[in-house]
């Protein structure tokens, strides 16, 4: 662990977390005694190949199912298997596929409104205003509340999914491959939006990706999963400049060499967040 992490108390901690799935007589060890932590306001990236246990980790963190062994801690407090509304509200999720994660038969407004209603956020008449404000916060016009998901592009849908997660006013946002269903240009825009939102709302991210190139610009800290095991956790710069593990090196070398133009594009999309 690096020094800054020892100084910042972790907001989120996984201690000795394992998960074994049993289907009939068949057992799959999806995660093996994992220890991991994230500091307040930071973006912790989890990278690894498909099937390395990233989604399993996210699901247990969200309380969708409990770990086989081990515990999660939020601000030093044990997270119970059954979450009450307050705990649910604190940890929210953005899924990979925004087409499936939005109900095709409910308007964008209704989907956003649900979070406000469930958690009684704001007074009833004020909630439609809040829905509009949330849409504007993710860079969409407030009128989009009337639309159905089918009338939106992939990037717009993912912005709605982000707005819905934000509607709960969470402290921790779990992003499970939030941009891998989007094309490169849209991906860069959504990443920039996520970066802005994290700073504005002082959110902690658990950013899951199979692609190291994606997390390079957004993560403060990277955890590398390989077949259910944490093989390396390091500050992003250290990881890229000095990868300790052979598996990490192979992931880094798998990053496609981008053309200068593409690289420039990524940089310009990511950098001017303060000069916005």
């Amino acid at each position: 662990m690096s020094r800054s992490e020892i100084m910042n108390a972790p907001v989120l901690e996984a201690r000795n977390v394992s998960k074994t799935f049993v289907t009939g007589s068949h057992e799959v060890k999806a995660l093996d005694t994992l220890n991991l932590s994230a500091s307040k306001g930071e973006c912790l990236a989890i990278v690894g190949e498909s099937g390395s246990g990233k989604t399993t980790f996210a699901n247990m963190l969200l309380g969708i199912y409990p770990p086989t062994t081990g515990e999660f801690f939020l601000d030093g407090m044990l997270l119970p298997a059954r979450r009450n509304l307050v705990l649910r509200r604190t940890i929210q999720l953005v899924q990979q596929n925004p087409l499936s994660s939005l109900n095709p038969r409910r308007t964008v407004g209704a989907s956003l409104r649900l979070a406000l209603d469930v958690h009684s956020i704001g007074d009833r008449p004020g909630r439609s205003l809040r829905v509009g404000a949330l849409l504007e916060e993710v860079g969409l016009p407030a009128e989009y509340a009337q639309r159905y998901p089918s009338a939106l592009s992939g990037g717009q849908r993912q912005r709605i999914a982000i707005a819905r997660a934000l509607a709960c006013e969470p402290e921790i946002l779990v992003l499970d491959e939030p941009t891998s269903a989007l094309d490169v240009l849209v991906q860069a825009r959504v990443l920039r939006l996520l970066d802005e939102l994290r700073h504005r709302r002082n959110l902690t991210y658990v950013f899951i990706s199979h692609d190291l190139a994606v997390v390079r610009n957004i993560a403060d800290c990277v955890a590398v999963f390989e077949r259910g095991k944490l093989v390396e956790q390091a500050r992003t710069q250290n990881l890229f400049s000095n990868p300790a593990h052979a598996y990490t090196r192979s992931l880094i070398s798998a990053i496609p060499i981008v053309t200068d133009e593409e690289d420039e594009l990524r940089r310009t999309m990511m950098e001017p967040r303060h000069a916005h």
């Binding site: 999720l93 899924q95 109900n103 095709p104 469930v118 958690h119």
Partner: protein, 277 residues
């Protein structure tokens, strides 16, 4: 809605379905005004004009006690449609709730509800209805009860299958993560995605309910005299074939039109709404 209408009107078969269904509903609703002899729906007797072939003003002929067949068929449509609507109005909410609960909640709820549904589905519909009608008095209310008993399981199965696959969708997970109640997820998130299939099946079923109700009264287990009923008319007229052919032919045609119309319309809706019935 406008899009659905437009597609309906651009396909000749669905236009025919729409016309037939329109005719049936119009006849049922406005029977009092269209029927030349509205009083003939009841126990009227006119032995000066009984068992007559079609002639003016009795365009479909008269029955064995001299009542106007055309008027009686219009009123029979009203009964049939009422029966269909009431049966579906009871069976659909029951079936939908059972299907949603079994498909979304899973576990022992799913086990219990779907075994019960299977039991009902394994009994041939007419047999089930006949046994219910055999136990109870053969009145209109009991007829509805009988048909309802055998109809809800089809909706339970349909909605169960859709719910099972919809539960895997990300929007259900999203609602769960937000902390929405199970009732909300079942009725506000999943149900809207079942509606196209349900509407399609209801349209198809209106025809079938009318047919089943007619079959029951054909067997003497349905609506009782003097209330006009298509099934009883066919059954009674069958004794006087082929001489008094109009007694059988016109009520049979009336059943055919209703069943055929609802089927064409249902098929068209299935194609448009993409329901998987």
């Amino acid at each position: 809605m406008r899009r659905v209408m437009w597609i309906l009107l651009s396909n000749p078969l669905s236009v025919i379905g729409l016309l037939l269904v329109g005719t049936v509903i119009f006849s049922a609703v406005f029977a009092d005004f269209i029927a030349p002899f509205p009083s003939h729906r009841g126990a009227v007797v006119d032995f000066s004009n009984f068992n007559q072939p079609p002639h003016w003003p009795n365009i479909f002929g008269t029955d064995l006690v001299g009542r106007d067949l055309f008027s009686r068929i219009l009123f029979a449509y009203r009964i049939s449609l009422m029966l269909g609507v009431v049966v579906l109005a009871i069976a659909v909410p029951i079936g939908v709730t059972v299907g949603l609960a079994a498909g979304y909640l899973g576990g022992w709820v799913e086990f219990a509800l779907m075994r019960l549904t299977d039991v009902f589905l394994s009994i041939p519909p007419l047999v089930l209805a006949m046994s219910v009608m055999g136990l109870l008095e053969p009145t209109l209310t009991n007829g509805m009860l009988a048909v309802t008993t055998m109809w809800w399981p089809w909706y339970a199965r349909l909605v169960y299958n859709i719910t099972r696959s919809e539960s895997q969708e990300g929007y259900v997970l999203a609602a769960e993560i937000i902390g929405a109640s199970r009732l909300h997820i079942m009725f506000r998130e999943i149900l809207p995605n079942c509606v196209p299939s349900i509407v399609t099946k209801m349209t198809l079923d209106l025809g079938f309910v009318i047919l089943i109700a007619s079959s029951l009264s054909f067997l003497g287990l349905g609506v009782q005299a003097p209330t006009p009923d298509l099934g009883s008319m066919v059954a009674e007229g069958g004794n006087y074939l082929p001489d008094s052919w109009w007694l059988t032919v016109f009520p049979s045609l009336a059943i055919l039109i209703a069943v055929f119309g609802f089927n064409l319309l249902g098929d068209a809706l299935r194609q448009i709404l993409g329901g998987d019935t």
